[in-house]
Symmetry: C2
Subunit: 197 residues, 2 copies
Amino acid sequence: MANKYDWAKTFTVDFSMINGLSKTAEPTKRYLSKVAPMFCDQDAVADILKNGDLLVYEFYELDAPEAPGDIAFGTSITYPGRVGREFYMTKGHFHTILDTAEVYFCLSGEGGMIFENPEGDVRYEEFKPGIAVYVPQRYAHRSVNTGTEPLVTFFAFRGDAGHDYGTIETKGYRKLVVEKPGGGYELVGNPKWKAEI
Amino acid sequence: MANKYDWAKTFTVDFSMINGLSKTAEPTKRYLSKVAPMFCDQDAVADILKNGDLLVYEFYELDAPEAPGDIAFGTSITYPGRVGREFYMTKGHFHTILDTAEVYFCLSGEGGMIFENPEGDVRYEEFKPGIAVYVPQRYAHRSVNTGTEPLVTFFAFRGDAGHDYGTIETKGYRKLVVEKPGGGYELVGNPKWKAEI
């Protein structure tokens, strides 16, 4: 697809402050059937899919140049829901250039971001509207919707940072974000996490 | 001042979605008395200052590391008002590393951003809530409030980009954003612009 925007010139992109959707840009949609392996409870996945597929999250990639001087940006929308006890979430990724950071600014909804670095440091930060969450260099990051409305964030990172989804897809995250008995959320160990790949 | 945030770890910062202000971070405030030279009509400046000083804009610098792998971010709040026909605006700047971009996402208010590059290309993009404006590499950029409420934007750029305020302070912008007779705004030539410094 030809790049819709001329990144050497100024341009604007519209995103709804309520649901994060753009009237002019094309989202990338992630349905449960395609991201099923990232959830721990595969019986719960199968139960849901019996009744049809569901949209777990979507986001905007605007084809920013893969250049260190450009800034990629867009919105990410993670829908509310659970697969078993596990909340809906994004696949999550490291940056291919590991030592590049990112920032997410929450516009709507509630949830959090779970992080881990290659050394195994796991962190979690909560999102609510008006909260900026800093993704430091070297941390894989995944958005999690622990609420009842779409979790909408605006993100920005260096154009050449790149996305490494594979490491997370293969190893999984060390921790899961699940519904806490009685309400709220909690982090629990991921029984399927693999130390080595 | 010691850096309040550990940029090697995750952290959050709060910004109001309405007025852009943070309850926890310290803003940099720009009063009319200090930014007076950027306005064209110095008689109008003097008239206003007779009745006391006014806050033209404020923004958050969070002391991001000056590193190519980090992302600086914060909010910018330009208040509504005029000096003569000219709307309240920020000083505007080039990045010290000229070939680094930036993105601004409008949270509240209305106005625009005026741009120019060293070759003299002048551009203008409008802000309203939900509009992301891309600042390409090599373009000086200044926020202008053409409305009646605070213009609030969330911005993100590379940590090492740096701010070159001096070039704009000395030369001025090629164009001014002024009230249009009958309402609205228009761009007019800056009679004080200097081709060479």
